[in-house]
């Protein structure tokens, strides 16, 4: 299974990762982080093919992707 970790306090809420996920698995949260920003999160249970596109687009290097056996 692929795990997508988005660091809530590095994320600036730019939304760039959202449209680039082929599975639309990332979404902006309604709640705010410590800086008062809406941040991105991986939608639980949604598919991920590990394509890394979200991470590549992220200006804050806030996204890490792992393959867990």
């Amino acid at each position: 299974m692929v795990v997508v970790k988005i660091n809530k306090n590095l994320c600036k809420g730019c939304e760039l990762c959202v449209p680039f996920c082929p599975h639309s698995s990332i979404e902006m949260s309604r709640s705010l982080n410590d800086y008062g920003l809406h941040t991105a999160y991986f939608k639980k249970g949604y598919p991920c093919n590990g394509c890394r596109d979200c991470a590549i687009m992220c200006p804050e290097a806030a996204i890490e992707i792992f393959h867990v056996q």
Binding site: L32, D34, Y35, G36, H38
Partner: protein, 188 residues
């Protein structure tokens, strides 16, 4: 009468507008005013801190060394600016983003979840107007209609649409305070 205010927050939290509008309204009200960003941001992000003085006398130093009022919009800014407080200061905290750190003997403290309130209204940035509503309800520094007029002047063109939400935020701030702290009369 002299009121010295410190406004602190992140760059994007609208404290600049807060201060400028307040100054504008006070000026139109015949008061002396001075307002300045004590620490701007050539580097984006980071904390911005504004000094505002409203007075019926000539203002000498524009620097606020001891605040009559400190309005803090987020935690780091709050921590950095606590030294401005002295006995009898008024402290307004945006409790959505600030955790109060002290009991503050002799300091009047109000906690307003401004970001949440603004977020509910659909515009996080309006948290500044929530705080303004609360602040002015306590200090009664200027008349709200005058303030709203200044706001309207500022939000022109494309931004005109924002007027209503800001006005609403202002009212919500006032309201929140009234309800949460059961305040009735102005303290000044």
């Amino acid at each position: 009468m002299t009121e010295k205010v410190i406004l602190v927050g992140y760059g994007g939290q609208g404290m600049m507008l807060f201060g400028r509008l307040l100054a504008q309204a006070a000026m139109l009200d015949g008061k002396q005013v001075t307002f300045f960003p004590s620490y701007g941001t050539e580097v984006r992000g980071g904390t911005a801190c504004y000094h505002l003085i409203v007075s019926t006398e000539e203002i000498y130093s524009p620097v606020v060394e001891e605040a009559d009022t400190l309005i803090a919009m987020n935690q780091p800014a709050y921590l950095k600016s606590r030294d401005y407080l002295r006995p009898n200061s008024l402290l307004l905290l945006n409790s959505s983003m600030v955790r109060r750190e002290d009991n503050y003997n002799g300091i009047e403290v109000y906690e307003i979840p401004a970001t949440e309130i603004a977020n509910e209204l659909g515009n996080v940035v309006a948290s500044n107007m929530v705080m303004m509503g609360a602040y002015n309800y306590i200090k009664k520094l200027i008349s709200i209609p005058l303030f709203l007029n200044c706001l309207k002047q500022t939000l022109r063109g494309k931004k005109a649409a924002l007027y209503e939400i800001n006005k609403l935020a202002l009212e919500r701030g006032e309201e929140y305070l009234k309800n949460a702290y059961l305040l009735k009369a102005p303290t000044i």
